[in-house]
């Protein structure tokens, strides 16, 4: 990366840091500047449990090339076991590695700045799961029951609040953080609200069984995916009013994945046969009008085998859908705004779980 370009990018991130930390940990930038361009996409692969093979790949949009395994290439050590989430915030990447029990902080090239090892009191792992950021602080859920606040200058965990074992995704809305508590190890329906200033739990909402993913819209509604219950683990998407606790079911399908961009939820909803997702539907939900769009965002002639995650390029509106089987390295499929397949990019990791974008001005 050219130095001048990098500094410019850095400045851009610092100035617009607040908007980058919107509730949705999937989109990273809401920069309105018309000359904004996306430089690249980071794809995090969690690997296989027990194999220490989490991988961070970087797809350079300009060259169309993939820099494989940039964390290992720049640091000469591995990311570790079962990476779970990636956050681009300011000039840094934050990578939550669940089983290795680390939060790796790197620069935008993947060069390690600090490895945070959250304390685990009597548990096998604290289990860093999901990340978000707000107002100069990074927040990480720890599976052993906490939400932790990381200061972005000292890169230390400075506060922890107990939210419950099995905590999964976190998002921000109106100076509040919302976390979902999944049904592991014990059945749960909870969404918990944490006041950022006091850093205490201020509300518990009974949303839906086994909530695992959460997003928020501008009006403050929460969108929660339930991973269901035994035996079929059939998924549900619900909209929750955090003020009243009212819950409305939007969608029920075997398997649901979502991301948020501008006023839309992008959803992949699949049936399940033999415990594998089939017949994916690519739905767009307008959070403003509370309506599903009539057309799907992927054309019917495009086939993505085993879709895993989806994220939207904040500038171009392209949708990046990762796919893969547990046995082999995955791919990312880039879908244009008009639903066509632009490109399929081969990744070097197994189980690609999220794509994050880095933008610059030109």
């Amino acid at each position: 990366m050219k130095k001048k370009e990098f500094l410019y990018l850095l400045l851009c991130f610092v100035l617009l840091g607040v908007s980058l930390t919107s509730c949705n940990d999937d989109d990273d930038s809401e920069i309105d500047d018309p000359v904004e361009v996306t430089r690249g996409a980071y794809v995090l692969s969690s690997g296989s449990w027990g194999y220490n093979n989490s991988v961070l790949d970087y797809y350079d949009l300009k060259t169309g090339e993939v820099n494989s395994g940039i964390f290992y290439a720049t640091n000469d050590r591995k990311l570790g076991d079962t990476a779970n989430d990636l956050l681009v915030y300011g000039s840094k990447l934050y990578i939550a590695v669940n089983v290795s029990n680390t939060i790796e902080v790197t620069d935008l090239n993947g060069k390690s700045i600090k490895q945070i090892q959250p304390e685990n009191n009597g548990s096998s792992i604290a289990g860093p799961r999901y990340l978000t950021a707000e107002d100069g602080k990074v927040y990480v859920t720890l599976y052993d029951g906490y939400l932790a606040q990381i200061d972005t200058t000292t890169l230390e965990i400075e506060k922890k609040v107990e939210v419950g074992v099995g905590v999964e995704q976190v998002c921000e809305s109106n100076d509040k953080l919302y976390v979902v508590i999944s049904s592991n190890p014990t059945a749960s329906t909870k969404v918990k609200e944490i006041d950022i200033k006091t850093f205490t739990v201020t509300k518990e909402i009974d949303a839906v069984i086994n909530p695992c993913y959460i997003k928020a819209d501008d009006a403050g509604y929460l969108y929660v995916i339930s991973s269901g219950e035994s035996p079929d683990y059939s998924n549900k998407l619900v909209r929750v009013n955090p003020t009243t606790g009212e819950t409305v079911e939007l969608l029920a399908k075997g398997k649901i994945a979502m991301t948020e961009m501008d006023d839309y939820l992008y959803i992949i909803a699949s049936d399940v046969e033999n415990w594998a997702p089939v017949n994916p539907q690519y739905l767009k939900y307008n959070m403003d009008t509370q309506q599903f769009e009539t057309t799907q965002f992927v054309n019917s002639d495009v086939t993505v085998e085993q879709p895993m995650s989806l994220n939207v390029d904040p500038v171009s509106g392209d949708v990046y859908i990762t796919s893969g089987t547990y046995t082999a390295t995955g791919d990312v499929h880039i879908i244009s705004k008009d639903g066509a397949l632009v490109k399929t990019v081969a990744l070097s990791g197994i189980n690609p779980i999220c794509t994050r974008f880095v933008t610059t001005e030109e």
Partner: protein, 662 residues
């Protein structure tokens, strides 16, 4: 990724405890076939005339090479892979020619050890102290008068213990004290007693204790650290008693066996996190009796057995509601086998054997499924044998029915499984033989595959295994060699409907998914040369080539890739020098690169290794007793290697033992 966490939980809770618990089963002890003595073939183990590959290691070789546990012996065979999770208490299973370990039967004094829960046998629990011979048969054995269970596998690893022979006095005492690196202590005591002219009794106790915390080097790119394998201690006690006798003109024996152990499970090495608090307790008890009677052209045999296995797994982790998770499993099995062997014509014989077993599993889970399994196996076999030709055919009929207290009941399993084998000596003046065999067999889904919490799938079909083998053998002696034997086999295998755990949306699930084709070559060479009187050199070497590729889906990224943990090249060599002073044995094991995951890419590669071991022994007569001193140096070059990825093997270590026999 939920499923990754769940898989973690699954591995913590299921796979390990399941793999450790096992049940026993009873089989016939031996068959007495009318085999003509061939002048050109020596009275060595009849491995050369078999129509399928048979390899044997005798007590003599075990002593000579200083092998102390079964996995060390099995690693000397060609065509097998020992999956070794490292350390004294680490799980060790045997995989034949790239088939899963559930396809390998392990028999102990003719008793097939079965485990309906995990389907595989951990061979780390066997001592070699009282072993007479270990035999590995790949495919269907030519010995047709066996229990039906011996027909129901891809191959059999048979462990045979020594039966006492009394000459000058009516008792024997054998006591041993052994020890070694990592706090290893292995005392044992055996007392054999002649009771009457017709009955004798042996009783033995073995204790294994090890601290187990061995050092290893963890290599993470440029980050190289010296670590210790935490939580790898083991304590185990084994008690065994055998009654031998003759009854009503027939042969009778009975066995009681008890095993009790506690061990730490160090788990796989995770970068940046060395938490390991899992523990496992095992109790196994079995009791069985066997009777056989022979008449002119007819033989009869029958065996009965009861097995009880209990395992307790505990993981301490504050994330669990009670601060820990505890799984307790109890498996019981009742087994009965009876068979006849009929020899109406010279050279022609036939056998019919029927086995019946009833297995139950109980545990402390919330939603108990409480499976009960009734299995009926019937084997019909025929054999034609002359001094130059052996022709064997068999048909196994399996019927299996499961009942469950709750949930879905799987469909009954019914199959017919044929096997054919031929061994031919084309030249009357030479021991050179050609052999060909075929077997179509399967393994039934285990209780874990079918019922384990969340991951079990009651719709599973059996996993099918097809085996074809072509080989040649030659053995003999000449003026230069006291003994020389060579065998080479090429084979083709196919596994269909493989039962594998597949991650789904939220949990892992067992499915029939995957086909594997294997082409391979196994080569064995054994020679002995007398140097001067009292001095001899013995040399053995094996080599295996195995190309085992995934052929499930032509469009997948792993199509035609070598399957996990199957080395393309592997081999062993051992040289022993016998002399009047100190017997010396040197062994080398070499294994080529393997892949830890299905895709053959660099990041999944496990580098090959060469391990060197050295053993020294000497016997001293002390009055009427005999003292044997044995010392071994293992992994001489202190090589850092994994067999299973992230389960590091110990570096250089030593063992010493003193055995007093009276």
């Amino acid at each position: 990724m939920r499923f990754l966490f769940w898989r973690g939980m699954l591995c913590l809770t299921t796979v390990l405890p399941v793999s450790y618990s096992f049940a026993q089963q009873k089989d016939t002890i031996r068959t007495r076939q009318l085999q003509e003595v061939e002048v050109v073939e020596q009275s060595r183990p009849a491995v050369n005339r078999a129509s399928v590959p048979v390899q044997a290691i005798s007590k003599e070789m075990i002593d000579r090479m200083g092998m102390q546990n079964l996995s060390e012996a099995v690693k000397r065979f060609s065509g097998v892979t020992v999956k070794d999770y490292g350390g004294i208490g680490g799980l060790k299973t045997v995989s034949i020619r790239s088939f899963g370990a559930q396809h390998t039967a392990v028999s102990y004094d003719g008793i097939t050890i079965s485990d309906a829960q995990s389907g595989q046998v951990d061979i780390s629990r066997f001592s070699l102290d009282n072993v007479e011979e270990i035999t590995l048969t790949i495919g269907q054995s030519d010995e047709i008068f066996q229990t039906a269970r011996m027909y129901a596998s891809v191959g059999v690893l048979a462990i045979k213990t020594n039966r006492p022979v009394f000459q000058d006095k009516p008792f024997h005492i054998r006591s041993k004290i052994g020890g070694g690196s990592f706090g290893l202590l292995t005392p044992s005591f055996q007392y054999d007693r002649k009771l009457t002219d017709h009955f004798s009794l042996t009783t033995r106790a073995d204790w294994v204790s090890a601290k187990g915390e061995y050092p290893f080097t963890l290599i993470n790119g440029q980050l190289v650290t010296k670590e210790k394998r935490k939580n790898s201690d083991v304590q185990s006690l084994r008690l065994e008693s055998n009654l031998y006798g003759s009854l009503g003109g027939g042969e009778f024996n009975a066995k009681i066996y008890y095993y009790d152990s506690e061990r730490g499970l160090p788990g796989s090495v995770t970068y940046y996190n060395d938490y390991a608090k899992e523990r496992l307790w095992d109790n196994h008890f079995f009791s069985q009796a066997y009777y056989r009677k022979d008449w002119d052209v007819l033989s009869f045999q029958s065996s009965v057995r009861y097995n009880y296995s209990y395992s307790k797994y505990r993981n301490v982790d504050s994330m669990f509601p009670d601060g820990m998770q505890e799984d307790r499993n109890t498996q019981q099995e009742y087994y009965f086998s009876t068979g006849v062997h009929y020899r109406p014509l010279n050279g022609f014989s036939t056998s019919l054997t029927s086995d019946l077993s009833y297995t139950t599993l109980d545990n402390n889970f919330e939603n108990k499924i409480l499976p009960e399994r009734l299995t009926s196996l019937t084997a019909l076999a025929m054999q034609y044998q002359t001094s130059r030709l052996t022709l064997t055919g068999s048909l196994l009929a399996t019927y299996m029915r499961d009942e469950v207290r709750s949930g879905d009941r799987p469909a009954d399993k019914k199959r017919l499984s044929p096997a054919l084998g031929v061994s031919w000596r084309p030249f009357s003046e030479s021991s050179f033989r050609l052999r060909a065999s075929f077997k179509d067999i399967f393994r039934v889904p285990t209780f874990t595959d079918l019922y384990y919490q969340r991951i079990g799938n009651t719709n599973l079909n059996p996993e099918r295994a097809l085996q074809y083998n072509l080989g040649l053998t030659w053995s003999g002696e000449n003026s230069f060699f006291r003994y020389l034997s060579v065998s080479a086999d090429v084979y083709y295998n196919k596994a269909e409907d493989k039962i594998v755990a597949v991650p789904t949306m939220y949990v892992w699930k067992m499915r029939n998914l995957g086909e594997v084709e294997t082409i391979g070559l196994d080569f064995n060479l054994h020679l002995e040369k007398l140097l001067t009187s009292g001095m001899a050199v013995l040399f053995s070497s094996t080599y295996s080539y195995m190309k085992a590729v995934d052929v499930t889906d032509t469009g997948s990224k792993v199509y035609h890739h070598q399957i996990q943990y199957a080395p393309k090249h592997s081999g062993t060599t051992s040289v022993s020098l016998e002399n009047p002073w100190v017997n010396l044995s040197y062994q080398v094991t070499a294994v080529g690169k393997r892949y830890s995951l299905p895709q053959n890419i660099k990041s999944n590669e496990i580098t090959g290794y060469v391990e060197h071991n050295l053993s020294l022994n000497r016997s001293f007569p002390i009055g009427r007793a005999n003292l044997r001193v044995q010392a071994e140096l293992l992994n001489l070059t202190n090589k850092t290697y994994d067999i299973i990825r992230f389960y590091p093997m110990p570096g250089r270590s030593w063992r010493l033992s003193l055995v007093l026999i009276y």
